[in-house]
């Protein structure tokens, strides 16, 4: 073998080793030495998601659909948000796939018209967001398992970017447990309409029997869950029930409280709606003979016997008000703001904790009526935390009102009630989540069982009493019952339920929320990843402000003109009508001309805005495309001539 052949062979070997080596290393070191340098850690999954992915037993497939080709073809201008968002979601999904150690497989599709990918997207009910030239725009995800379970996020909405990790983790979690889940409902009010089907209820109604309509929120829940009634004096919670909704519990017997306690200790998920004042959900029975009879009706509920063991309390007689979130009430003097009637979704969701995924993205009002507050109890068990989900703005506060002012037959008088309210300095919690290793509220075991044993002289049963949760658990406390009642949620039109607030969504979200694991609940909302051109935004904002001012000025002009015109008309009498009419015509022409000029001004301001943005683009483009290269060229020329001059001088010197 010649030396040339030998070294050629050596080169081939070296390159082969290089390629194979880098491939093997890159396959073998998938999760090693990874540093996320972004400020918000946007490429790092939260602890909760890692746990969910880590628990996966069977492999799942994530089918990710995005019509990148179509978006690119349509041009970037209108769709820039979507493309940026796509990159973010794609990267996040790739991180899921990478961190799952092979249990989550990511398949990315760019559905072309009439392709298999498009058919698959349609089959999985990924939303066809937009239709253009026979091509559909898809941007969604389906998580599928071999057993056929499918969880679909039909569309990734750029406005919902903070929740994307929650959505994906939820889909992954739910794809592993496809069975329909059972929700138990325990209430001192008849809110489920009994365990009967709609058909049975209709038949009974036709036979003239008295049937109670279930609350709308229960009907909505039935679409997603098996809803089971739990008696208000139940001594045991059916083990089939995984989620327990306790609504307006009034004086529950110890045995029932103990059953709820043990349900939570077993890892069951409890959502409790309690209220110090629930006139909408639990109205006083009407008695025409005694209009003030309502004052003796007790519409308060409490579960403090349990809550206080878990570190929180909902004090009775204390209501939450907020001057920023208060809503108007119809009164005899017209609509007046009532400080205890709140829209927690007002002012862009000012009453919702942005870090808790459960109440995000609600479209309509989230109404509460004289909610109570969730406060820290005298003793908080170690390691148990309370995280507010709904809370007032900093100016919100608690206040007290005499019962007779609330129970007046004409309804509460906003002026009198608002006078009792003093703005606060820190937000007050209306709903929240208790989490941690919760201790039992019955440290001595079953209150009934213990007595029996003592009386009968038997040994205390080696029972299955649990003194605390085995694993960390979460309990959701909402200090308002009215918000889930029909009065603040639905209108019934010809038997159909029409929600007028986001309250039912919130209630169902809560169940969905606890249906996920504690890990899922802790999946924090992601940091904002979009970084806009603030300078351009500022230009637009200023221009908009100016156009607004101008538009207001024009409108004022029009109004003034109309007022003048009508006053002229009222002054008109037989004699001067002709003169006035002539004046009016002249005046009208003048004002119309002025309005035209103002409109032109408006267009000019708009154009100025566009010009300012365009000139900014031109100058930055010029600086980078021509300015910097030109500077380099000039430096090069200068150095070149300098060198040449030096060389010439050196030559001259030598000569």
């Amino acid at each position: 073998m010649s030396s040339y052949q030998r070294s050629s062979l050596a080169v081939v070997f070296i390159l082969l080793i290089t390629f194979c080596g880098t491939f093997l290393v890159s396959e073998g070191t998938q999760n090693i030495g990874r540093i996320d340098t972004t400020e918000a850690g946007v490429y790092s999954l939260s602890e909760g998601t890692r746990n969910i992915v880590g628990r996966l037993q069977k492999p799942l497939t994530m089918k990710f659909f995005y019509s990148k080709d179509l978006v690119d073809r349509l041009g970037v201008d209108q769709l820039r948000d979507l493309n940026n968002y796509y990159y973010y979601v794609r990267d996040l999904l790739r991180t899921y796939a990478r961190e799952s150690g092979g249990r989550l497989q990511l398949q990315e599709y760019d559905p072309q018209p009439f392709s298999d990918a498009e058919q698959e997207a349609d089959r999985l009910k990924i939303r066809r967001i937009w239709d253009v030239q026979n091509a559909g725009l898809y941007f969604g995800l389906a998580v599928t398992s071999k057993s056929g379970a499918e969880q679909v996020i039909d569309m990734f909405d750029p406005r919902n970017q903070a929740q994307v990790e929650y959505q994906v983790s939820e889909a992954v979690e739910l794809a592993t447990k496809p069975a329909k889940k059972t929700v138990g409902v325990l209430s001192s009010l008849d809110i489920t309409g009994g365990d009967m089907s709609d058909m049975m209820r209709q038949m009974m109604a036709m036979q003239g029997q008295q049937v109670t309509q279930p609350w709308g929120v229960i009907e909505v829940l039935r679409r997603f869950y098996d809803v089971k009634d739990v008696a208000k004096d139940a001594a045991e919670i059916d083990p089939e029930i995984q989620y327990l909704l306790v609504v307006h519990p009034k004086d529950l017997p110890d045995a029932t409280l103990y059953a709820i306690d043990q349900f939570v200790m077993r890892g069951g998920k409890l959502i409790a709606f309690v209220d110090p004042y629930a006139p909408i959900a639990d109205p006083a029975p009407r008695d025409p003979q005694n209009p003030f009879g309502g004052m003796s009706h007790d519409d308060a509920s409490s579960l403090n016997r349990l809550f206080e063991a878990w570190g929180v309390t909902v004090p009775s007689g204390k209501y939450v008000g907020d001057p920023n979130l208060m809503q108007p009430m119809p009164t005899r003097r017209g609509r007046q703001n009532l400080v205890g009637f709140l829209d927690l979704n007002a002012q862009g969701g000012a009453g919702i904790n942005p870090d808790e995924a459960v109440a995000q993205g609600l479209a309509r009002q989230l109404l509460a009526y004289f909610p109570g507050t969730v406060e820290a109890a005298a003793e908080v068990p170690a390691g148990v935390t309370f995280t507010p989900i709904l809370r007032t703005t900093p100016e919100g506060n608690t206040f007290t009102v005499e019962r007779f002012e609330l129970a007046s037959p004409n309804g509460p008088d906003p002026e009198k009630i608002n006078a009792n309210f003093k703005p606060g300095a820190t937000p007050v919690a209306v709903a929240g989540r208790i989490s941690g290793i919760l201790p039992s509220a019955f440290p001595d075991g079953d209150p009934a069982g213990g007595d029996d044993a003592a009386e009968e002289g038997e040994e205390p049963a080696a029972d299955d009493h649990l003194a605390s949760c085995k694993e960390a658990n979460s309990v959701v406390v909402v200090a308002d019952v009215d918000m889930v009642s029909d009065g603040l949620s639905f209108q019934r039109m010809l038997g159909a339920l029409l929600p007028f607030s986001s309250n039912p969504d919130f209630a169902v979200n809560l169940v969905d929320y606890v249906a996920g694991s504690t890990d899922l609940m802790s999946v924090r909302s992601r940091g904002r990843f979009d970084r806009p051109f603030t300078v351009v935004d500022e230009i637009e904002r200023e221009a908009d402000l100016r156009t607004q001012e101008q538009a207001a000025a024009i409108n004022a002009d029009i109004q003034r003109f109309e007022a003048e015109l009508s006053s002229m008309q009222s002054q008109a009498d037989e004699a001067n009508v002709g003169v006035l009419r002539g004046e009016a015509v002249q005046k009208q022409r003048d004002v119309e001309r002025q309005i035209r000029e103002k409109r032109r001004d408006l267009v000019r301001v708009q154009k100025q805005k566009n010009d300012a943005i365009e000139s900014l683009e031109t100058s930055t483009r010029f600086l980078n495309t021509i300015g910097v290269p030109l500077a380099v060229l000039l430096v090069g020329l200068f150095l070149g001539f300098n060198r040449r001059g030096k060389a010439a001088r050196a030559q001259g010197g030598a000569a």
């Binding site: 050596a10 890159s26 806009p532």
Partner: protein, 245 residues
């Protein structure tokens, strides 16, 4: 090591001694900025250098072989390579010195694109992490491309051939990771999946993309440095052989 430094200095001075370096810098700066702005950088209103970085793998595939082509081909054609290697310089030192000079030159070119960073910082509030890792990735990628170019330059005496081969190899290493190629490979029965995976992981796109998003991963750094080391070693072997002849 001083021999390497000497070669490095001589080469770097050599770049700036001719107008070629300035022409290169001007064209590179103008083209990279032009592509960035014409691909909707301003319309996206995203205060990041994503669009700018996205063009670099393609641009480097053109510019790195252009820088590297004269490294050895020229020396071999004018027979100065024999002269260089008779000096008290080992082949290894010469290869390393020339490579580092080319790399430093690329570093200067990248430094001059800082005007893009300033532009973005003026327009908005960019995340500094991805900007830093993007530049780190770009610099490492430039080194790897240069090593590939140096290898082909050492293979031939003709600069043009060196450039064409180098550019072709670089392009292959870039576009092997493009979705079109990966999709096509995945369609091959039986071997499709692993083959697509191999080819994709050999692509600069795959590795640079991770870096420019703000993620530093061991395997991406290893890929860039591994390719650099591998091709430089191959260059040394090639030149050793021609020295022996």
């Amino acid at each position: 090591m001083s021999a390497t430094t000497a070669v490095f200095k001589r080469e770097l001075r050599g770049y700036f001694g001719t107008p070629v370096a300035y022409v290169f810098l001007v064209v590179f700066l103008a083209l990279s900025a032009f592509l960035t702005f014409s691909q909707g950088f301003f319309q996206m209103r995203d205060a990041s250098l994503r669009v700018f970085f996205a063009n670099l793998p393609g641009l480097f595939a053109l510019f790195a072989p252009a820088i590297a082509m004269r490294m050895w081909a020229e020396e071999r054609r004018t027979k100065t390579v024999e002269l260089l290697l008779t000096l008290p310089v080992t082949v290894k030192q010469a290869v390393l010195g020339k490579f580092l000079a080319g790399w430093a030159f690329f570093g200067i070119a990248l430094l001059l694109t800082m005007s893009m960073v300033m532009t973005v910082a003026y327009l908005g509030d960019p995340d500094p992490g991805p900007v830093f890792t993007g530049y780190l990735g770009a610099f490492l990628m430039a080194g790897a491309y240069l090593a590939v170019g140096a290898f082909f330059s050492a293979m031939t005496k003709n600069q043009v051939i060196a450039f064409v081969l180098g550019a072709a190899a670089c392009a292959l290493l870039v576009y092997s990771g493009s979705p079109a190629v990966v999709d096509a490979l995945q369609g091959i029965p039986l071997l499709g999946r692993p083959l697509a995976r191999f080819v994709e992981s050999m692509s600069f796109l795959t590795h640079f993309d991770v870096l420019q998003r703000g993620l530093i991963e061991f395997r991406d750094l290893f890929f860039m440095l591994g390719i650099t080391g591998g091709f430089l070693t191959a260059t040394v072997v090639m030149l050793d052989e021609s020295k022996a002849r």
